[in-house]
């Protein structure tokens, strides 16, 4: 008797009476033997303390009655996914998935395959008895052709599909290191079964990978026969469909290793790019000439115009100056190809509503954007638009200032269309004086610090945009 079994099965009817030392399985059920070989292998490998079994839904749902290891009882079909969670939480844990055919090969098929292919060292024991035992003998994915079950009363036929060979399926994946199908009907097969289960655990212990043992097991109750006949049935009916033997035995070197998580503040701050240096401020005060406490902007163009980048720069600049700033991009399909627009707020204390239905400042990169949002600008606001692409601007509220700057032409002149948005930023600065030039330039330089070579070009674009805006306003 293996030490990996509890001394008394307290969880089985509180261990009272006979249940304290017997299983809940039917006489001759294959589960008992699989449990026993698992327990013995755990003993022999000395891994009892590390072992976590992931218990299925099915007749073996009560594995935790018997094995003196950690237990995680999970939902039908989800053992593999649960096992992965345990393994990555503690890479030293020996995680055993114990699953029946409905669990592993029907409802949990996606998790089964994905986990096998992931290949983390996990040991899977797949108990294939060609039937749903716990729910009362319904057809399983592994039910044989012609086999009568409560949901294939005339025998499984072509219309209900054929038996699925999991060991072969798993073996053809790259992830697993070892796959074998075994049976329990004779001393020789039982010996192989025990050996396979131990080897599957060893593959995990040695960090070589995922191992899968399919056990052809007897369910005398739903085969509606004696334990003896059930063994014969497995041998004569199941084995021809489910050939026994090793399906994969790869020579993986031990590879599995996961570092211990770090909780070092410096590492974290560096990773997230946080800095303890206060950015330089250039503002004398909040730009109250635009709005007393909360300035709203909208920037709109087509996908590649860089409206979002400029929006972000303005929000960042605001925060660098000690104000509040927000930026909401229009995202998703509407940002693909079509119009891309951004709402920005700059507030003295707190941005209340980050949307800009009636912006103080509107930057339009093309004619459709101008047409779409031009009329939403609040009286007394400012529109800055690309006069190289938007001609014949429709009149808006006479109190709204409209400044046309040829963003595209200027950028083309600089030989880099991508700086069109920085031209626009320069124009916006000159037209509105929302912030001093230096505020925006410092933020721009900071954003480009990893691509320092681009800074001079961007500064030039900014300056030319500003200059063009001043020119335009003189007219």
């Amino acid at each position: 008797m293996s030490d990996a079994f509890y001394g008394t099965f307290d969880r089985h009817n509180e261990g009272k009476g006979l249940k304290g030392h017997t299983t809940h399985y039917c006489a001759g059920c294959g589960h008992g033997l699989a449990h026993k070989y698992l327990a013995e292998a755990i003993d022999e490998l000395g891994i009892q303390d590390q072992t976590v079994t992931v218990n299925p839904v099915g007749c073996a749902a009560f594995l935790h009655f018997y094995l003196d290891t950690g237990h995680s009882s999970t939902a039908h079909g989800r053992a593999a996914a649960t096992a992965v969670g345990h393994k990555v939480a503690n890479p030293d844990a020996m995680v055993v998935c114990y699953q029946g055919d409905g669990d592993l090969a029907a409802i949990g098929l996606a998790e089964t395959i994905a986990t096998a292919q992931l290949g983390l060292p996990i040991t899977v024991l797949f108990i294939n008895n060609a039937i749903y035992g716990m729910t009362g003998g319904q057809m399983a994915p592994t039910t044989l052709m012609g086999q009568i079950t409560t949901t294939s009363p005339d025998g499984r036929d072509r219309l209900t599909g054929g038996p699925i060979r999991m060991a072969e399926l798993i073996a053809q994946l790259d992830g697993p290191v070892y796959v074998e199908r075994v049976a329990l009907f004779s001393p020789a097969e039982r010996k192989k079964a025990k050996r396979a289960i131990k080897k599957a655990l060893l593959m995990q212990k040695e960090r070589r990978g995922y191992a899968f043992v399919e056990v052809l097991a007897e369910c005398p109750t739903h085969f509606k026969t004696t334990p003896e006949k059930a063994m014969e049935w497995v041998k004569e009916q199941m084995v021809p469909i489910y050939p026994l033997g090793v399906k994969k035995d790869a020579n993986f070197e031990p590879w599995f290793e996961m570092p211990k998580p770090t909780f070092d503040p410096a590492t974290f701050l560096k990773a997230v790019g946080a800095s303890s240096e206060k950015p330089a401020g250039f503002c004398k005060g909040f730009p109250t000439h635009i709005h007393a406490t909360d300035i709203s902007l909208k920037l709109a163009g087509s996908g590649g115009d860089g409206a979002q980048t400029v929006a972000m720069l303005i929000a960042k600049a605001a925060i660098n100056e000690g104000f509040d700033g927000t930026h909401i991009p229009a995202y998703g399909p509407e940002s693909r190809g079509g119009t891309s627009y951004a709402d920005v707020h700059v507030a003295l204390e707190e941005v209340h509503n980050p949307a800009s239905p009636n912006p103080d400042i509107f930057v339009a990169f093309n004619a459709p954007s101008l047409a779409k949002f031009g009329h939403t600008v609040r009286p007394g606001g400012t529109i800055i638009y690309d006069s190289a692409v938007a001609k014949d601007v429709k009149p808006v509220d006479p109190t709204v200032r409209v400044v046309g700057v040829p963003f595209t032409d200027i950028a083309a002149g600089l030989g880099k269309m991508v700086v069109k948005n920085i031209v626009a930023l320069g124009a916006l600065q000159a037209a509105t004086e929302i912030f001093p030039q230096e505020t925006l330039l410092a933020t721009l330089r900071d954003t480009l610090k990893e691509k320092a070579a681009l800074i001079p070009l961007n500064e030039k674009a900014f300056a030319m945009g500003a200059e063009a805006a001043r020119e335009a306003m003189k007219k």
Partner: protein
């Protein structure tokens, strides 16, 4: 292994034999035979052993499926010894009583505010709360959070795993949370629907985990516009059974960080999942985010199934076949839900003297704030009540405002989902005559706008 001549012979307590006969067929010596006699204790028909010819080959022992069935009789043991306690030892288990390994709070050097989007802020909140395991399945508009985690976690020796589905995701969390460690996922509405089964299991097994749901337009595949149509799932529909989880409703990128951080604390405090629900706008919204002044290195709770000696005796489970036991389990959960009510939080904005109270969460609360301010400028006494926890609903914080109120206006991007929480909370608090409740709602991936709220209130005032 024993020598051939001293190989142990089998021994069997008939009470532990189910008479399956697996042993009978393997004994070539014919030592084991079926009987006809029913064991009165078990109702089974055990086999009988006659070991005169037994060679001690052991095949029968290997064939017996019962852990305490046929066993090798070691030297010194005797047939007569029938007391299982003596025979098998009185131990249930040699596993020790598990103990808590406490976590650590690590002070952080102060840093300048970051300018980041909501999903990023939530990710940083999780990292600072000690989360190093993130699982997820990509779904817009929540993907940026997962992408940032995939980038940052390796730098902190953590692990991001892209699951095969949302269904698998929640069970990765079941496993990782079950081991006693913090874990997180980012998802969006259709993904949350898929996770509900697992959330029910996590609640039942009392496992922690934080779910960030960036709500989008539905039902069905819907669209990726901002929405609040998952509120009823979080408050009333976390899978089957009597489930609840604290549900936090941030309204700024800063709160995305702060409330995610808080979510981990609450998740472990109550051993229950915690939901952080944001609309798609908030997920994408960039704003000022200040980092907390400390971060957490999590410990290892006593109850975790970690896979070590300390935790060997543990079990995470939601299966309690005995109805009375399952009812007790339910009562235990209800007790916890009651305690969670102390976590209810709300923000009041210009609410003290308000006659018209807007009630809103997430981004609609910001549109409402804007509206409240505009309406104040027009002389109307309008305030905002913003539940930060939508479950438990912060009714205690609302009650003192009620006497002054002439109207309540619920602003939400769903069909009555927030309003129903308010109405239920009022009803449970015994408020039979609340002020009239009207609403401003948009659906299908559209948020209510500030001017719609303003117009609605102006309309109410005109009528009044």
């Amino acid at each position: 292994m024993s020598q051939a001549n001293t190989r142990p012979k089998p021994f069997l307590l008939p009470d532990y034999c189910k008479g399956c006969g697996r042993c009978v067929h393997v004994c070539v010596q014919g030592c084991i035979s079926f009987t006809q006699e029913i064991n009165p204790l078990t109702g089974m028909v055990p086999v009988t052993l006659d070991l005169a010819k037994c060679t001690g080959c052991g095949l029968c022992i290997e064939a017996c499926p019962e852990p305490y069935g046929l066993k090798a009789m070691e030297a010194g043991e005797s047939f007569e010894l029938q007391d299982p306690a003596t025979l098998f030892g009185a131990r249930r288990s040699t596993a020790p009583e598990p103990v808590d390994i406490p976590g650590r709070v690590i002070p952080m050097p102060s840093s300048e505010p970051l300018v980041i989007k909501g999903t990023y802020a939530a990710a940083l909140g999780a990292l600072m709360a000690g989360c190093r395991h993130v699982f997820g399945y990509p779904i817009t508009p929540s993907t940026e959070g997962a992408e940032l985690m995939a980038k940052l976690l390796p730098k902190m020796d953590g692990f991001y795993l892209q699951a095969v589905s949302e269904v698998a995701t929640v069970y990765h969390m079941y496993g990782c949370g079950g081991a006693g460690l913090p874990s997180l996922t980012f998802t969006s509405s259709p993904g949350l629907s898929l996770m509900l089964e697992g959330i029910s299991y996590m609640i039942a097994a009392e496992l922690p985990g934080v779910f960030i749901d960036i709500m989008r337009g539905g039902p069905g595949l819907g669209n990726i516009g901002p929405d609040q149509g998952d509120v009823k799932l979080a408050c009333r529909g976390l899978g089957h059974g009597n489930t609840h989880a604290i549900t936090l409703m941030p309204s700024t990128p800063q709160e995305m960080l702060d409330l995610t951080y808080l979510a981990f604390e609450l998740s472990f405090k109550y051993r229950n999942p915690v939901m952080v629900m944001a609309d798609g706008y908030l997920g994408q919204m960039t704003g000022k985010v200040k980092l907390p002044d400390h971060m957490v290195e999590p410990g290892l709770p006593a109850w975790g199934v970690y896979g070590d000696l300390n935790h060997r005796g543990n079990l995470n489970s939601s299966v309690f076949l005995d109805e009375a036991t399952m009812e007790t389990r339910n009562l235990k959960l209800f007790d916890k839900y009651e305690q969670m009510k102390s976590e209810a939080r709300a923000e009041c904005f210009q609410a003290e003297d308000a006659e018209i109270l807007l009630v809103a969460c997430n981004t609609p609360s910001r549109a409402s704030k804007g509206a409240a301010q505009k309406l104040r400028e027009q002389g109307a006494r309008v305030g905002l009540f913003r539940p930060i926890t939508i479950w438990p609903f912060p009714i205690e914080q609302l009650l003192p405002l009620l006497p002054r109120l002439k109207q309540i206006v619920v602003v939400e991007a769903s069909k009555n989902q927030i309003e129903d929480e308010l109405r239920l909370a009022l009803s449970h608090a015994g408020i039979t005559d609340p002020p009239p409740i009207t609403h401003v709602q948009r659906y299908g991936g559209i948020l209510p706008k500030e001017n719609e709220v303003v117009a609605h209130v102006q309309n109410l005032l005109g009528r009044a």
